[in-house]
Amino acid sequence: MSPAIEVRDLVKRFGRVEAVRGISFTVARGSTCALLGGNGAGKTTTLSMLLGVLLPSAGSVRVLGEDIGRHRYRVLGRMNFTSPYVDLPKKLTVEENLRMFARLYGVRDMKRRIAALAAELDLADILARAYGTLSAGMRTRVSVAKALLNEPELILLDEPTASLDPDVGDRVRAQLLDYRRRTGATMLLASHNMPEVERMCDAVLMMRAGRIVDSGAPAELIARYGRSTMEEVFLDVARRPEPAGATAPGGLREDDE
């Protein structure tokens, strides 16, 4: 079976600025992979190209076995996305929003699916409330519900627990992990929350200045850098001098898993 995500020599230029510089990686089906890096490292640009809403300058992206550039609409119904930077219509109730997206994704037995998600994500009491009246935590749970509506094989999560208190953040993470366990779905998340990455992810891709500068399982990276947490590894990578060429300190090339 093909990997869930297969990226080869991906480049994105905005005028003279090269935001993503020839990255290659794969994400195995059923795994949870984190895309880490400081602000401007190229994470959101990479996610946008995986979703097909941003055209690459060079390279290729295959998602769930399909070339996203050519056959985007074959896979969009099998994946989903959530980000705190993209909103839902605020005047519509939570249920109206979920119904709209259920129809867009062709969800069968919409009522049952929405009821199930409402129970799982503790949304039952707010289904009739306008999305715009909800707290940040509630909105995030609704966005996660929207991302799970079509029971996606692949979920792209851009900072899924940003602005959440530890309790709500923990519950959202538990729901996502439970979903993965039940369905075998693949997740790729961009996050600045290192404990979240340690808890949820099997693999990590570390980006810096548009390149993947290191990769591996969280435990491997922690051991390789001689640190005790991913937060310390992140700081080591972010603060070290620019690496020469494309070879990462651990001896991995950019396209090594």
Partner: protein, 269 residues
């Protein structure tokens, strides 16, 4: 397995429903749709009533100015309906979610057109009803030709609305005001309240390139001469085909441009 056409219809229905949810709970939005057409109609209705006793040309047919005004509102509301449906997604910061869903750009266009139809029906419907109440004038007296005038103007409005939406997708909400002003470029040369023949020759050439001028000439022929001008009708249809094709092409070009520039997840101000 559900056929792709059915899935496409469901997606379009989802987008139409999204706006109907909004109208259902916001009476102020519905009121706003009817407000300007009604105000315009009241103002022009009284002007027409006055002119009917002081102008031999207007006096020939009492409903001439009111018909022109109501048909102009069909064009304006049609255009505004498409543009505002698109703006609603921008204001809600929802375009990112829509464009990563299976919704195709052409399905979004079709849903915006359907919503525009509802908006126009509400806005112009109220003004039509008030014209009957205030002036005992029913635009339906135009008979079957009215359907052709409505259809041609609505389609022309959609085409211009798509062009405005494309402009906003390219330049962000800074271009939003074109939704309110773009159509008025066409107003002086559309011959809404006067025949095209009053324009200077060079401007007449411009006017005949617009579907609207053919519709309003046709309307005057029906009201003044009781004749339906098939030539004007077919010319308007032909021009509308070109305008709609241009509107869709511009919208798709703006969509692809936004994909190249990475704007789809962050279109806004």
């Amino acid at each position: 397995m559900t056929p792709p056409a059915v899935l496409a219809l469901r997606r379009m229905y989802a987008m139409v429903l999204r706006h109907l949810y909004l109208f259902r709970k916001s009476w102020i939005r519905v009121l706003e749709m009817a407000y300007w057409p009604t105000m315009q109609m009241v103002l022009w209705g009284f002007i027409a009533k006055f002119l009917a006793t002081n102008s031999s040309w207007v006096a020939q047919v009492p409903g001439l100015l009111v018909s022109a005004l109501l048909l102009w509102e069909v064009l304006f509301r049609g255009q505004l309906g498409v543009a505002l449906s698109f703006f609603e997604e921008l204001y809600a910061r929802n375009l990112g979610h829509l464009f990563v869903s299976p919704l195709r750009p052409l399905e979004l266009v079709a849903s915006m057109i359907a919503v525009s139809f509802f908006r126009t029906a509400i806005g112009v419907g109220a003004a039509i009803a008030l014209a009957v109440a205030l002036y005992r004038y029913s635009i339906f007296d135009l008979g079957v030709p009215l359907v052709t005038f409505f259809a041609n103007l609505l389609v022309c409005g959609w085409a211009i609305g798509l062009m405005v939406a494309a402009l906003v997708m390219r330049y962000g909400l800074a271009a939003e005001n074109f939704a309110w002003g773009a159509i008025f470029v066409a107003a002086p040369v559309s011959g809404i309240y006067y025949p095209i023949s009053v324009l200077p020759d060079w401007l007449q050439a411009v006017a005949w390139c617009l579907p609207t001028s053919h519709v309003f000439e046709g309307m005057r022929a029906v009201l003044l001469e009781r004749t339906f001008l098939w030539r004007e009708f077919w010319t308007a249809v032909g021009l509308n085909v070109l305008y709609v094709a241009a509107g869709i092409a511009l919208f798709l070009a703006a969509f692809n441009g936004a994909r190249r520039r990475g704007m789809l997840l962050q279109i806004g101000e």
